[in-house]
C-alpha cells in the first residue's frame, strides 16, 4: 500500500526519458530510437500552472502522456505527492488516476459520439466504481454547473454533436474534474476553438485553479497563450528542456538562442510593433539517435566549437529560478 504525502511540491519529474524504437525491418536487430523525451526534470507546486511550449516534435505532447501514464517511461521518475507513479501497475495505477487527469486538444474527437454527455462525464466515476446511479447523476450535474453549462438538466442527456466546440470543451473539463484530481495535464485545450471562445475556457481553467488549488501542466505551441495562462514556462526542443523559469521572465528576457528565435517569430497583434529579426538556420528534424552534443547545435546562430564537442549542456540556474541549458550564456 503506497502512502501519499501532502507537500507543497505536487509533481516532481526527474530524468524522464521516452525513446520510441524505429525498427529497420523484421529481421534486422539494429534499431534506431527516436529520443522523444530525453532526460527532462521539473517540478510543479500545488496550484501552479507550468507551461510546456515548443514546436511540433519537441516532445511536449509525449511528456504530457507520460505524466498521465498513457505512455510508459523508458527511464526516470514521476513523483506525485511523494509517490513514484512511473512504475505503478494494476490496481495502484488505477487508483493513482484519480489524482491526475487530462484535457485533450480536439473537442470533437475526445468524446464518444454515441454516448450522452452524462455518460461521458460519468465514465471516470463508473470505471473507478464511485457512487451509485443517483450520486453519479448529482455529481455530473454539479460538474456541469461548475463549468458553466447550466441548467445541467438540459445538457445531461444530449449528444456531443448537439453542442458547440466551446461547450464540448467545457464538458471535457467537467470530465477531467469529476474525480477531483490534484493535477491536470491540458494538451492545447484551446487551439481548436474559435478565438472569442478561447478566453472563456482559459478563464474557467484559472478559476478552477483558484477554487480547488489544482496544478496544471499546460502544453501549447502558442507563446502568447502561455503568457496568459502559465506561472512558469518551460521551452522544449527535440526532447530537451532548454529554458525554464517564470513566464514573464522567460518571455521578456529570453537567454537561450532557441527561445529568442521562437519569441521573435511569434506574430504580435499590433501593426506598429517591429519584431526582432529571426536568427536561426535550417529546419527542425526528428531526434533519431541524436549525437550527445547540444541538440540545438545545427541551427544555433552563436554555436562555438565547444558546443559541438561537449555533451548537451545541463540546465543551470542563471539567477532567480531562471534555468537555461546553454554554454554561451
Amino acid at each position: 500500500m503506497v502512502t501519499e504525502v501532502k507537500t507543497e511540491t505536487l509533481v516532481e519529474v526527474r530524468n524522464l526519458k521516452k525513446y520510441f524504437p524505429v525498427s529497420r525491418g523484421l529481421f534486422k536487430k539494429v534499431k534506431n530510437y527516436v529520443h522523444a523525451v530525453d532526460d527532462i526534470s521539473f517540478t510543479i507546486k500545488r496550484g501552479e500552472v507550468l507551461g510546456l511550449a515548443g514546436e511540433s516534435g519537441c516532445g511536449k505532447t509525449t511528456t504530457g502522456k507520460l505524466l498521465v501514464r498513457l505512455e510508459d517511461p523508458t527511464d526516470g521518475s514521476i513523483y506525485l505527492n511523494g509517490v513514484d507513479i512511473a512504475t505503478l501497475e494494476g490496481k495502484e495505477l488505477k487508483r493513482f488516476r484519480r489524482n491526475v487527469q487530462m484535457i485533450f486538444q480536439d473537442p470533437y474527437e475526445s468524446m464518444n459520439p454515441r454516448l450522452t454527455i452524462y455518460d461521458t462525464i460519468a465514465e471516470p466515476l463508473a470505471v473507478q466504481k464511485i457512487g451509485n446511479i443517483i450520486e453519479r447523476q448529482e455529481r455530473v450535474a454539479e460538474m456541469l454547473r461548475l463549468v458553466g453549462l447550466t441548467p445541467p438538466e438540459s445538457f445531461l442527456f444530449r449528444f456531443p454533436h448537439e453542442l458547440s466546440g466551446g461547450q464540448r470543451q467545457r464538458v471535457a473539463i467537467a470530465r477531467a474534474m469529476v474525480l477531483n484530481p490534484a493535477f491536470i495535464v491540458a494538451d492545447e485545450p484551446t487551439s481548436m476553438l474559435d478565438v472569442s471562445i478561447r478566453a472563456g475556457i482559459m478563464k474557467l481553467m484559472l478559476d478552477l485553479r483558484e477554487k480547488f488549488e489544482i496544478s496544471y501542466l499546460y502544453i501549447t505551441h502558442d507563446l502568447a497563450v502561455a503568457r496568459y495562462m502559465c506561472d512558469r514556462l518551460a521551452i522544449m526542443y527535440l526532447g530537451k528542456i532548454v529554458e525554464m523559469g517564470e513566464t514573464e521572465e522567460v518571455l521578456q528576457n529570453p537567454l537561450h538562442p532557441y527561445t529568442k528565435a521562437l519569441i521573435s517569430a511569434v506574430p504580435v497583434p499590433d501593426p506598429t510593433y517591429r519584431r526582432e529579426p529571426l536568427e536561426i538556420k535550417g529546419m527542425i528534424s526528428r531526434p533519431i539517435d541524436p549525437p550527445p552534443r547540444c541538440r540545438f547545435y545545427d541551427r544555433c546562430p552563436i554555436a562555438t566549437p565547444r558546443c559541438e564537442e561537449d555533451p548537451h549542456p545541463p540546465l543551470e540556474d542563471k539567477g532567480g529560478g531562471h534555468l537555461v541549458a546553454c554554454y554561451e550564456v
Binding site: 480536439d106 474527437e109 464518444n112 446511479i133 443517483i134 447523476q137
Partner: protein, 315 residues
C-alpha cells in the same frame, strides 16, 4: 454552492427515450434511401408468407393433402397439375401442393439466413475488435486466418463437408456462420475498430482508469456494431443462396426448401426444353423467391449503408 435536490428521471427511461428518438431519425434516413424500404417491403411480404403456413395448416388445409413433404391429393388425376383454386401454385410430380411447400420453406429460409449471418457477424465483431485493440501477435494470427478462409471457396468446402457429415438446416447455418465469421468480415470490422481505437476518447477512457475490457465493450464494439449490422444483411443473402445451391445438388439433409423444390423439378426432368414453360409452377415460384429474398436483404443493407456511412448521404 448548494444545489437544489433535483428529481432525476430513472436512467433506463431516459435511455429508452433517447434510443427511440435516434431510431426514428434513422428510420427517416432509411426511408429516404428508397431502395431500403423496397427491400423491407419484400421481407415483410415473405414474413407474412411464412406465417400463412401454420395458419392455413391449423384451419383450412387438410394435412393429408397439403403437407409439403408427405401430402398427396388423390382427387387430382395427373401430377404435376397446374394452379387451380384448390392448389394455388399447382402440385409437384409427387402430388404435393407447391404453395404449401413455398410457405413452409420460407420460415426455414429466414431462419437459416439470419442465424448464419448472426453467427458470422458475432464472431467477426469480436475478432475484429480484439485484433484491432491488441494488435501484435493476436492481430497477425486472425488476419492470416482470414486470408486462409477467404482463399478456399466456401461452396467447394461445403460440398466436401456434406459428403463427410449430415448437413441439416441447423448444422448448415452453424457451419456457414463460423466459416464466414473468421473470413473477410474480420478484416472489414477490424479496420473499423482501428479507426475507433485511435480516437482521443479512447485515450480519455484510459486516463479515467478504464480497463481493456471496459474500452472494448463500451467504446469499440458499439462503434463497430452499425457496420456489423450492415454486413449481416449481406451475409443473409449469401447464406440463403448457398443453401439453395447445395440443395439443388441434393447434398443436404433437408426435407423441404426452395432449393429442394428446384432440385425436385430438375431430377424429375421438368426443367428441360419446353417443360420449363409448360410446368412453370415447378420452377419459377421457388427460384423467384430465392432471388427476391436475397435481393431484399441486400437492398435493406444498402439502405442501412446510408445511415452507417453518412458520407453517402445526398446533401
Amino acid at each position: 454552492m448548494e444545489a437544489a435536490r433535483v428529481r432525476y428521471e430513472p436512467l433506463w427511461k431516459v435511455r429508452l427515450r433517447l434510443w427511440w428518438r435516434s431510431f426514428l431519425t434513422n428510420w427517416e434516413l432509411f426511408r429516404e434511401s428508397k431502395i431500403g424500404p423496397i427491400g423491407l417491403g419484400i421481407i415483410i411480404f415473405f414474413g407474412l408468407l411464412a406465417i400463412v403456413y401454420p395458419i392455413l395448416m391449423a384451419t383450412v388445409w387438410d394435412p393429408a393433402i397439403y403437407d409439403p413433404v408427405t401430402g398427396y391429393d388423390w382427387e387430382v388425376p395427373m401430377h404435376p397439375s397446374p394452379p387451380s383454386t384448390k392448389h394455388l401454385l399447382g402440385t409437384d410430380p409427387w402430388g404435393r401442393d407447391v404453395f404449401a411447400q413455398l410457405t413452409y420453406s420460407t420460415r426455414a429460409e429466414f431462419f437459416l439466413g439470419v442465424f448464419a449471418a448472426f453467427i458470422t457477424v458475432f464472431i467477426g465483431t469480436l475478432v475484429g475488435s480484439i485484433s484491432a485493440y491488441y494488435g501484435g501477435f493476436v492481430d497477425t494470427f486472425f488476419m492470416r486466418l482470414a486470408d486462409v478462409v477467404m482463399l478456399f471457396p466456401m461452396l467447394a468446402f461445403l460440398i466436401v463437408l456434406s459428403a463427410m457429415m449430415d448437413l441439416n438446416l441447423y448444422s448448415l447455418a452453424v457451419v456457414i456462420g463460423i466459416i464466414g465469421g473468421f473470413g473477410g468480415i474480420t478484416i472489414i470490422l477490424k479496420s473499423q475498430a482501428l479507426s475507433v481505437k485511435v480516437k482521443p476518447y479512447i485515450e480519455a477512457a484510459k486516463v479515467a482508469g478504464g480497463s481493456h475490457f471496459h474500452i472494448i465493450v463500451t467504446h469499440i464494439i458499439p462503434n463497430v456494431l452499425p457496420l456489423s449490422f450492415l454486413y449481416m444483411m449481406f451475409n443473409v443473402t449469401g447464406a440463403i443462396f448457398t443453401e439453395a445451391v447445395l440443395s439443388f445438388f441434393g447434398l443436404l439433409n433437408i426435407q423441404m426448401s426452395w432449393g429442394i423444390m428446384v432440385e425436385m423439378a430438375n431430377i424429375s426432368g421438368y426443367l428441360i426444353g419446353e417443360n420449363v414453360t409448360r410446368y412453370w409452377w415447378l420452377f419459377w415460384p421457388a427460384s423467384l423467391s430465392i432471388t427476391l429474398l436475397c435481393s431484399a436483404f441486400y437492398l435493406v443493407g444498402r439502405g442501412i449503408d446510408e445511415i452507417v456511412n453518412p458520407r453517402l448521404r445526398k446533401r
